[in-house]
Symmetry: C2
Subunit: 398 residues, 2 copies
């Protein structure tokens, strides 16, 4: 008979306190606090803290991080191509392996409460499949703690770098989860062939698609329409994400209602980190038309920028700031985007606090869900599949 444990006196998303009964790594029941069998072993006494489903990091670049390395002043030039080349030079012969840098960052992110991740992995001819191999090994190393999806990501372009297409397919054959793309117009300068390649591989290998789209305004919007066409033609509803989509911030939200309805119908998710120096998708409008929105940290202390700390609760706060949100309902929406929105985007089967879901939980002090977003308490306990994996925000070696 499986052994049950209990997390006592926690408030699910800020609601009335319950005792959460955990069994075989899953949530078994939520009982009014004090009513769980007193003989059950206590996994955690929540003392009235909030319990949240573990956070979802929907867009990160673990393989690029310089985490654990000494501070390195950023030396990249001003254009995107400058930055791509700067990173190639830096990482090509970088002395410290990805396993060490990205592994430490994964553990840090777990400490902040994320247990679900989608990481892009750089596929370029300069280093071939080295990043893919390292990230597949990390996916395996941490599979007892986290769900880590990997995207084969042609950072330097797909068509303009001969040999990249073959590497992409090899990465997918090795078990990478998602087909990635980037700026089909600005970088490859042949948007239709770029997208056709991605969708052909997605169908052939039965994978989802995730496209970095920084292309601006009308150009980016036109590409989103083409992505929608191909999603529909390939029957990939629910398996496509458009990351960044700065272009959607160039229009009055009302101009985008038709496009939003199409994204909703095709279950295409929009990922935004809610950056504050560029235009961003109109998140509230998209959500009001039932388009799924998720969020991520993007790069964390890498050759692109020294910013970032992998804290998805802080990301929710930054998103609220980006849109001037101050109402509880809006702050709760920001939380939903870094939790349930991410779960939908990543196609997670069981996510949340309902019985049957994995006991993947974040427990932290806060008066309410909205307050949790504003306060971002560092005093976080994190539970993965029924085991405590972080206390006070610090990952425990288990």
């Amino acid at each position: 008979m499986p052994i049950s444990q209990v997390i006592r006196n926690v408030r699910p998303l800020g609601a009335a306190a319950v005792d959460l009964v955990i069994e075989a790594g899953k949530i078994k029941a939520a009982l009014p606090t004090g009513s769980a069998d007193a003989k059950l072993s206590c996994l955690l006494d929540g003392q009235g803290q909030l319990v949240l489903p573990a956070l979802v990091e929907s867009h990160v670049h673990f393989d690029k991080t310089l985490w654990t390395r000494p501070w390195r002043p950023n030396t990249a030039g001003p254009t995107r191509n400058d930055r791509i080349r700067n990173e190639q030079v830096l990482l090509q012969d970088f002395g410290v392996p990805i396993a060490q840098r990205a592994g430490a960052l994964i553990e840090h992110c777990i400490g902040r409460g994320s247990l679900y991740f989608r990481s892009h992995v750089d596929v370029q001819t300069v280093w071939g499949l080295r990043h893919v191999e390292a990230m597949l090994a990390l996916r395996d190393q941490y599979k007892h703690l986290i769900d880590l999806q990997l995207v084969a990501f042609p950072q330097g372009g797909l068509l303009i770098q001969p040999g990249t297409a073959a590497l992409m397919q090899e990465a997918l054959e090795m078990g990478v989860d998602i087909v990635g793309g980037i700026d089909p117009a600005a970088i490859d300068r042949d948007p239709v062939r770029h997208l056709e390649a991605l969708f052909e591989w997605a169908v052939r290998y039965d994978r989802g698609v995730d496209i970095h789209l920084h292309d601006p305004a009308d150009l980016g919007r036109w590409e989103i329409e083409r992505i929608a066409d191909m999603t529909q033609a390939c029957g990939l509803q629910g398996r496509v994400m458009i990351s960044h989509a700065y272009c959607l911030g160039a229009f009055a939200p009302a101009e985008l209602h038709g496009l939003a309805d199409r994204l909703c119908e095709l279950e295409i998710s929009i990922m935004t980190c809610a950056p504050s120096h560029v235009t961003v998708p109109p998140v509230a409008m998209l959500r009001s038309r039932n388009v799924n929105v998720c969020s991520g940290s993007d790069g964390i202390r890498d050759a692109w920028s020294p910013m970032g700390n992998g804290d998805m609760l802080e990301r929710a706060m930054l998103m609220a700031m980006r849109f001037g949100w101050s109402k509880d309902a809006d702050l709760e929406m920001a939380f939903d985007i870094v939790s349930a929105g991410g779960a939908r985007a990543l196609g997670l089967q069981a996510y949340g606090l309902a019985p049957g879901c994995p006991a993947n939980l974040l427990v932290l002090p806060a008066e309410s869900l909205a307050a949790a977003v504003v306060d971002r308490s560092p005093r976080r306990a994190v539970i993965s599949r029924g085991k405590i994996v972080a206390r006070d925000g610090v990952f425990l070696s288990i």
Copy 2:
């Protein structure tokens, strides 16, 4: 003979480690670490951490805060006037006195490393001088620890609320430091008379001027030109601040070179919190033309928004994000804005790490000044006039 103490092994702004000799609450000398007299009493062993001048909070509304109160969902309507009315209703008979709320917030801000503050104080006919009295008492209560400047701030308008002008003058007679204004066009609808009143009082009472300016684009820019005219006519060079100045974000920076040069010549400071949901002044351009820029938290958990934590190092990080800064020089500029820029804006006589400056210091772990801005370590020791007033970011009752 005065007693000297030493702060051992700290790196001023990230430079080589020194021992800082402190005497009579001031910095006496910076010696290569290890070379200070071993018999000197050790105030703090920095262990190679950074030492920074205490942070400058150039724009806050202490009297409005709901700090220490239970989480209160924001209920204001969408317009600025809705928010003004919402706050009037909430604060008019609020049960918990300003001394308690603002006092606790001041102590919290000290814990984050700020020791210099400019707080606006709401002067309105609905509550007369109640806020002024409370904030004057707090200024007195904390004068052994911090420099707190107060601005008489006609939140609800100056001309449209009969009786406000008399209250403003009374506040100045009571010892409020600065004459405040707000949106001379949008709120009072008579910008010239509004500004004339402020500058007349500034001259009569020998005070500086600090004007909240949210008025947009060409309207706001025109008002800045009038503020410059009056600053010049009244001989108030170096004593005028324009807060927010959203209007300056509506133009290409190059269009504003002439205006920037005028602001520089008249030593008018621009204060921006670098909010991400509105346009903001082009800080890098302003700085490149020697316009002084400072920053602040604005409201902290009040009837306007539940956001904010009074952390000026986080504010520097948010400013860097707002402009997409990633270079060390830019991150250092962000720090300068929350430190030396604030000191210039507030007209502080002695500020910094040079011998003779007050020993008002922030010691925290970081690899470099740029890293301090990105990391925002909570493990901060704060020293006010040679005494430790906070450890690990927590204010000590002294």
